[in-house]
């Protein structure tokens, strides 16, 4: 069905991105395919991997004991989703990644956790690492007739997160997810700062100068929009990264 109507059909998760844009005629589709009845609203643990189905909402993420102990970054991120309950009850993590609006929370956090994206399509199933799946702003590796059925993660019990935005209703301006790397290093994934997440690794997470240097030199094409120019995003990225590291390491503010 998706193949037949390719270009004129949209897959809807929670609809929190799609439907307002369709209402305002920014996006127009004659067919909307809702995944709701495919039984994809599940968070499971198999073979040492955590799998999050396409219909799992932010509330499901927030309430999942499995995620809290194995992928703490995701509920940490979901807590601050803009829009309050109306969005967290309805919006889906997978849907947000598929829409790939860069200045949102989900793409950066999922990128930080090295998600594997499971895709269902006319030629069967395939899996793509998140770093390949996200191609550009609003562009992901989905071919005609395909949709994402779930995302899989290796457990990562700890994660630090920081988001800067102007006000409650604002899109994220810069997000940073920090996860431990080998040998005491920390890997920081900056979201909303460019069209694709930006990854920076620091060996000594407490070396602020080095952290700032690494972040500043990693940002080459910062995202600009009506809320903030790219120069502002570049200016604050290092501070946001540091705060995510401090959140990870439990440094008191």
């Amino acid at each position: 069905m998706l193949l037949e109507h390719h270009g004129n059909a949209a897959v809807v998760g929670g609809g929190t991105f799609l439907l307002p844009r369709m209402t305002r005629h920014l996006l127009e589709y004659e067919h909307v395919v809702d995944l709701k009845d495919l039984g994809l609203r599940q968070i499971t643990s198999t073979d040492g991997e955590i799998e999050i189905g396409a219909s799992v909402s932010y509330v499901d993420v927030l309430e999942s004991d499995l995620l809290r102990s194995n992928l703490a970054l995701l509920p940490r991120m979901a807590r601050g989703i803009t829009g309050g309950r109306q969005i967290t009850q309805q919006g889906t993590l997978v849907g947000a990644v598929c829409f790939h609006f860069p200045t949102t929370d989900a793409p950066g956090a999922v990128f930080a956790l090295d998600a594997m994206v499971d895709i269902h399509g006319p030629d069967g199933r395939r899996s793509v690492p998140i770093s390949d799946f996200l191609i550009d702003a609003f562009v992901v590796d989905l071919r005609p007739g395909e949709f994402v059925s779930s995302m899989r993660f290796a457990p990562q019990p700890s994660g630090g997160y920081c988001k800067v935005k102007h006000s409650t209703g604002s899109w994220p301006i810069v997000t940073a997810s920090a996860v431990p790397g080998p040998g005491g290093s920390v890997r920081i994934t900056l979201g909303a700062v460019e069209s694709l997440p930006v990854v920076v690794t620091v060996e000594d997470p407490l070396d602020r100068t080095e952290l700032k240097h690494r972040v500043d030199s990693a940002i080459t094409a910062p995202w600009s929009d009506v809320l903030a120019p790219g120069s502002y995003r570049a200016d604050i990225a290092a501070a946001v990264a540091r705060r995510a590291v401090e959140d990870l390491m439990g440094v008191p503010k």
Binding site: R24, H25, H166, G169, V226, L227, I236
Partner: protein
């Protein structure tokens, strides 16, 4: 003036009322229905056979309309009619301005049709309207209309528009300036020149607007030739009826305008929009009722408050302002029939606010550009004068190292000569120092400063800011339908229930409850015995709707007068019945009784019923033999001076409330993000009739003031397209962005209104804006940084901090 004697609202001059004190004051009537979504708003109106309209809007900021081809749109099944500007011009006269600059002495003006004719001057200007059997079909048909444009050069910034070579919006004007509006007193130049200290600043206020929760909308039904019914989300239904009659050449009494319950108006829903008459024309053409509802993106086109103020001032070592000059350029977007440009004029008039400085020269220059027009916006320009004046106070404070509160105390106008002429205004009453004193105690200002000192020791950027404002209310424009008085009909039914019909409308503030409350008190009956009718020209007496605190000043007075006339008739009847003197009869507790004889008592219901059924024998006095229990009265404040005095002064505002606010912010020095930690305010709107509603007005105004100073912004790109088309780009404050407001009132009654009220609609905007601006500057002052560019967005604040760092560490 009547001092209210009921236990729940004691008018006092010293003002010790505090928030929450008036717990026995009535809550909003029908508040449960509003809260649970059971009230009927404009979009809930559905009339049998109703069709839907959509507008084709200009994609260009400035272009000549070469041709409009609607053939393809008309061919779409379900499309009933496509109306263009030229055809509409043949059906209706131009849309009268809400406030025509041409009537204000030599200012430039223009006529505006129902839809654009010949030229478009802003992106979004309606060029054609489609009516179809569904909104979706109408919207689809809009995209099928082919408009050929010849694109003209456009101009978006006011300073650019003022250049001689700038593209001209209106060919018959000499330039793009509506006019130069002066407000001067004394000799500002000399005072500034001779002052011990001199300073200057450029303060800019960003384009933003009211964003009512409910957008505009209209349902017009002109199916039979001599009768129009129009449901309108409007503040002024009677005035709208008069305008429709004029535009359409129909007898006024054959037009009915109904304004259902409103989801906020804030001046945005003043009359003056072409869509008011457009839906009527579309109904006439289709022979069916037609509905048009504004989308949020359409609503966000309207602008307001985009000013650049260049300020120059002189002061002495004590911090006393000796003289000031302000040149304010307002980018009012394109002139339209809408209610916006006048905000430039009222802002100009508001100087010198609450301050005594008598040497000033203010010039406000409203300039047209190819941005969308301004609409009216609560505080109506007065907030600009207050923003500037209260920033001056803080700049003096910073320069001299004198506490900003002290600087204000040294500059306040005293109450001497009030009521009477003070500067350019006929002031009713005031105690400016009193309200600030009360605020400082109430908000524990000294404690805030101690907290700030502690925070600064930890390297935190905590700022405390004061703001003070004068908000002229109840404006009356001579020779216009903006008047100070209003009307009420009170009707006591045989069953003893009461209907109050008033020309005042409610934007959602609860003024209907206050008007009913005033009537209930006159009759000594419960509020729930009273029903209020508003916003229906067939059911309510002629009135001017809602603006500028008119409900508290005019609406209550007219209702009380009407109730008192009926009460007199009731007393006459009762006195004859009981054979006693009229003075011996009192109302209260739902009954009428005689003071001299406890056995003489009857319920209000019994009294009303008796008068209706039998009258009293043997008398021919009015109200006795006939059931004369209905009265219509017109009343309003008495402080207008439309004839210039010997100094040429006129006074067109009824009252002069004022408000002081203090705001505490913390600035994140690494990101520029501002957190508003505290906000307290003390206003003086004269006597408070119901502090529940006055408090709520203040909460909302402070929120709007804070929002416009920190977040709300309508930036344009270089092609003239507004970049904020939804509430994801236009950042309205949400509850979690705001602190728990603490408000209190000082009550200095007006001698010119029936109950000593002054109106509470605008207070909180100007003081809130100034307090936030001052607080943010106070917060970043230790870094040597300063910012005068509103909104104080995080990127701008961070830039200010960086600029200061580069100054000190080059």
């Amino acid at each position: 003036m009547d001092v209210l004697q009921s236990s729940n609202s004691v008018t006092r001059v010293d003002g010790t009322a505090e928030s929450g004190r008036h717990e026995d004051q009535p809550r909003r009537q029908h508040g449960d229905r509003i809260l649970t979504g059971r009230e009927q708003y404009l979009d809930d109106i559905s009339v049998p056979g109703m069709l839907h309209a959509a507008l084709a809007r200009s994609p260009h900021p400035h272009a000549r309309i070469v041709s409009i081809d609607a053939t393809a749109a008309e061919a779409i099944p379900g499309v009933e009619v496509v109306l263009t500007g030229e055809r509409a011009a043949g059906m209706a006269k131009p849309v009268p301005h809400f406030m025509d600059p041409g009537l204000a002495g030599g200012l430039n003006t223009a006529d505006f049709g129902v839809l654009a004719v010949g030229k478009v001057r802003w992106v979004g200007e309606p060029v054609a309207a489609v009516v179809a059997d569904s909104l979706a079909t109408a919207e689809a048909a809009v995209t099928a209309i082919a408009v050929e444009y010849e694109i003209l050069p456009a101009v978006f910034e006011a300073e650019d528009a003022m250049r001689a070579e700038a593209p001209r919006l209106f060919e018959h004007w000499p330039d793009n300036v509506i006019g130069h509006l002066p407000n001067t007193e004394g000799d500002a130049d000399a005072k500034i020149r001779d002052a011990e200290y001199r300073a200057s600043a450029r303060i800019t206020s960003g384009r933003h607007q009211p964003v009512p929760m409910e957008t505009r909308g209209y349902v017009g039904s002109w199916v039979t030739p001599d009768r129009i019914e129009l449901w309108a989300a409007t503040q002024n239904p009677h005035v709208l009826r008069t305008r429709l009659a004029d535009m359409l050449g129909l007898s006024e009494e054959r037009i009915r305008v109904i304004a259902p319950r409103m989801g906020g108006s804030f001046g945005y829903k003043f009359v003056g929009f072409p869509e008011e008459v457009l839906v009527c024309l579309l109904s006439r053409l289709t022979g069916a009722p037609v509905k048009w509802i504004e989308t949020r993106a359409d609503e966000l086109l309207a602008g307001g408050r985009e000013f650049t103020h260049d300020v120059e001032f002189g002061f002495n070592a004590d911090g006393v302002l000796e003289g000031f000059k302000v040149r304010s350029v307002g980018n009012v977007g394109c002139l339209a029939s809408w209610s916006g440009w006048g905000m430039a004029a009222q802002g100009c008039f508001t100087y010198p606010g609450v301050y005594k400085c008598a040497d000033y020269a203010v010039e406000v220059i409203p300039v047209v550009t190819n941005k969308a027009p301004w609409s009216g916006f609560r505080a109506y320009g007065k907030e600009q004068a207050n923003l500037v004046l209260d920033r001056i106070m803080d700049l003096i404070s910073t320069k001299l190292g004198i506490d900003p509160a002290t600087v204000r105390f040294r500059n306040f106008q005293s109450s001497e000569g009030m009521p009477g002429w003070v500067h350019n205004k006929h002031i009713d009453s005031a105690n400016y120092a009193g309200a600030l004193t009360k605020l400082l105690q109430f908000a524990d200002y000294d404690g805030l400063r101690r907290r700030q000192a502690e925070a600064r020791k930890q390297g935190r950027l905590l700022g405390v800011g004061l703001g003070y404002e004068l908000t002229p209310e109840g404006g009356e424009m001579f020779d216009s339908l903006t008047r100070g008085h209003d009307s009420a009909t009170v009707r006591v039914h045989p069953s003893g229930t009461v209907t109050v019909a008033t020309g005042i409308t409610s934007p959602g503030t609860g003024n209907d409850t206050t008007i009913a409350f005033v009537v209930a008190r006159e009759f000594g009956i419960d509020l729930d015995r009273i029903d209020t009718i508003q916003g229906d020209t067939d059911r309510a007496p002629y009135g001017f709707g809602i603006m500028g605190g008119r409900a508290a000043m005019a609406g209550t007075a007219a209702a009380a007068d009407a109730a008192r006339e009926i009460r007199r008739h009731m007393i006459t009847f009762t006195a004859a019945e009981w054979g006693c003197a009229p003075e011996q009869i009192v109302f209260g507790g739902g009954s009428v009784r005689a003071t001299h004889d406890e056995s003489k008592s009857m319920s209000f219901e019994e009294l009303a019923s008796s008068i209706y059924r039998r009258g009293s024998n043997g008398s021919s006095q009015s109200g006795i033999t006939h059931a004369d229990l209905e009265a219509t009265k017109v009343a309003g404040p008495d402080n207008f001076h439309h004839e210039p005095d010997e100094q040429g002064r006129i006074n067109f505002y009824a009252s002069y409330p004022y408000c002081a606010a203090v705001v505490v912010v913390e600035v994140d020095g690494e990101t520029g993000v501002v957190t508003v930690q505290e906000c307290s305010a003390v206003d003086d709107c004269g006597a408070v009739l119901n502090s529940n509603f006055v408090d709520s007005q203040l909460y909302g105004a402070l929120a709007q003031g804070i929002g416009g100073t920190l977040w709300e912004d309508l930036p344009y790109d270089e092609t003239g397209i507004s970049q904020a088309q939804s509430l994801k780009e236009y950042l309205l404050p949400r509850a979690s962005d705001l602190p728990a407001f603490r408000v209190a009132h000082q009550e200095t009654p007006s001698p010119f209104t029936r109950f000593g009220t002054k109106g509470a609609g605008d207070s909180g905007i100007g003081s809130g804006m100034a307090a936030v601006l001052n607080a943010v500057n106070d917060a970043i002052a230790p870094l040597g940084a300063q910012i005068h560019h509103l909104p104080l967005s995080p990127p701008r604040i961070l830039n200010a901090i960086k600029a200061a760092g580069e100054m000190t560490h080059p």
